[in-house]
């Protein structure tokens, strides 16, 4: 009887855990699609897919005190090129929190394109320093 109760509780908790992980997965697309009032310039904004040849491209637009995208996860590969295309209506400083870190200055009205690679697997935050906002987290896999 005790064992049966334990098994039942186990099944319930496991299914509860599975449910919560679904929430995690579904939270991502909503976060991505919410702020679409400003469209990034040329390169595809968030559909960055890692591939050996082209690498990862992230389009970033800073306008009216808002950054698009904000807080999104973007997949990338170790050693492959990661390109940020940044357009901003104010002076901004972009920080890439890899080891070593990179800092890119963007002047008001300018569009800046920067390319770098990340050599260690991990998550790398790309951040708009003046606004104090995480633009994307690069999920850099081996």
């Amino acid at each position: 009887m005790k064992t049966a109760a334990a098994l039942l509780a186990a099944a319930l908790l496991l299914s509860a855990c599975g449910g919560s992980s679904d929430d995690g997965a579904s939270a991502d697309p909503t976060a991505a699609s919410a702020p679409t009032s400003v469209e990034p310039t040329s390169s595809e904004p968030s559909s960055a897919e890692p591939s050996e040849t082209s690498g990862t491209v992230v389009g970033i637009v800073i306008a009216g005190g808002k950054v698009v995208p904000q807080g999104k996860r973007v997949e990338a590969k170790v050693g492959a090129d990661i390109t940020l295309t940044i357009r901003s209506d104010v002076d901004e400083e972009i920080h890439v929190h890899s080891d070593p870190e990179h800092t890119y200055e963007v002047a008001a009205g300018e569009t800046v394109t920067e390319t770098f690679t990340v050599d260690t697997p991990g998550q790398v935050a790309v951040e708009a320093h003046e606004l104090g906002v995480t633009i994307v987290q690069l999920v850099v896999r081996p």
Partner: protein, 416 residues
């Protein structure tokens, strides 16, 4: 300013820049969760029915502090303070890195491996005397709770954790409080009010090493000797809640929002309060005890939270300590930022980050091992505290809560 100068901004992880861990694969989280659950119920249903690990709660007179360690402590502290206050005012500051990495995170493995050597090292204990007044015992651990919350606030919710000036101010206030309190109340002040000393003392109860290395003991027996005083549950809740908040605040859900420092602070506080309230509720959820016994229950079970905290801290901070720790070590060798490299060109080894599967397996192992020790500790103490008729039912709420803590921990490791 070169491109490689890391400017620790408000969102830099834990006050020190650089990359963070990959999420663990889903299957690792599931395997960990299944083990945690299975072992939990096995302990409840099949394990021993008489307490086995209860140590003497008084634990006798503490040792004398070892003078050579006090000297080492003074030298290390002086070194770090010189680096912090006289070093460069940017995140390459070795004192800042040592504070966040060696003091905050390094304290845990040190206490686990070597016992409460923090007490011997503490320069504040060395510099203060026997005290003028008796420490008011009704305050319990609450001053240390305030200190720990102030630290996790600085690290996780303040406007700019990587800002050297903020850390200088924080450390300045901390040192002043320790010296004044130490002069006023003597060594008892550090046993109850120094956030780092208290943290180390509690983790050290899980160490196989006791009494200055002259005694080895079962960590589960040592754990039962955590001194119970007001604020103990709050102390552990701050440690566990803040680490959970740290993971949570890196999620896309949270980073997609632009929030003020006040909103971060309130959320951090809410995490700690939820952890504490659930624990108090689960500890009290038993029949057959008097109201006074029920009120004493959370404190008497609080030691069982320690392994959960330690397991999760290890999972959360392992790469941070091992990899960022190397950078911090090299930065400390150049305390004034003059470009000194006495050990040659500093190169950091990313051996953990590069082996992603091993790292994920290690992290899950830490969380599950902490969970299992916690469940065993709670079970053993429950056998002492609960009347015979309620021994199984009275433990159930606590067991479910620990499973919930562990699942949450694994879920955060998997999703962020």
């Amino acid at each position: 300013m070169t491109l490689t100068t890391g400017l620790g901004a408000g969102l830099a992880a834990h006050g020190v820049g650089g990359s963070t861990d990959l999420p663990i694969p889903f299957i690792y989280a599931m395997v960990g969760a299944s083990w945690a659950l299975t072992i939990s119920f096995a302990v409840l249903a099949l394990a021993w029915k008489e307490p086995r690990f209860q140590g003497s709660w008084g634990a006798g007179e503490p040792d004398r502090r070892r003078p050579w360690l006090a000297v080492v402590g003074m030298l290390l502290t002086a070194w770090v303070l010189v680096a912090l206050y006289a070093g460069p005012a940017d995140p390459s500051n070795g004192g800042l890195q040592a504070f966040y990495i060696f003091v905050w995170v390094g304290l845990v493995p040190l206490a686990l491996v070597a016992g409460h050597v923090w007490r011997d090292l503490s320069p504040w204990r060395t510099l203060t005397g026997r005290g003028i007044w008796t420490y008011p015992e009704r305050l319990g651990y609450w001053p240390a709770v305030a200190g720990l919350f102030a630290f996790v606030w600085l690290e996780l919710a303040s406007p700019d954790p990587g800002d050297v000036v903020s850390v200088r101010v924080w450390v300045g206030v901390y040192v002043a409080a320790m010296l004044l309190g130490g002069v006023a109340f003597g060594p008892r002040w550090f046993d109850r009010a120094d956030p780092f000393d208290v943290y180390s003392a509690i983790v050290a109860r899980m160490s196989p090493i006791a009494r200055g290395g002259r005694l080895s003991r079962n960590p589960l027996r040592g754990l039962t000797t955590v001194p119970v005083a007001p604020g103990l549950v709050a102390l552990l809740a701050v440690l566990l809640g803040s680490t959970a908040y740290d993971s949570f605040s890196a999620s896309p859900f949270w980073q997609g929002r632009s929030l003020s420092s006040l909103e971060h602070t309130l959320t951090l506080l809410a995490f700690c309060i939820v952890v504490a309230v659930l624990f108090v509720g689960a500890a009290m959820a038993t029949g057959g005890v008097t109201p006074e016994q029920r009120r004493a229950m959370p404190g008497l079970l609080a030691h069982s939270l320690v392994p959960i905290v330690v397991g999760y801290i290890f999972a959360h901070y392992l790469t941070y300590l091992v990899e960022k720790g190397q950078t911090a070590f090299f930065a400390l060798l150049d305390p004034l930022g003059r470009g000194w490299t006495p050990l040659g060109d500093p190169g950091v080894s990313y051996v953990l980050s590069e082996h992603t599967s091993t790292l994920a397996a290690l992290k899950v192992t830490f969380v599950v091992a902490g969970h299992v020790l916690a469940v065993i500790a709670a079970h053993d103490r429950a056998l002492v505290l609960l009347p015979k008729a309620h021994r199984l039912s009275g433990q159930l709420a606590m067991l479910l809560l620990m499973v919930a803590y562990t699942f949450t921990g694994l879920y955060l490791l998997f999703s962020v």
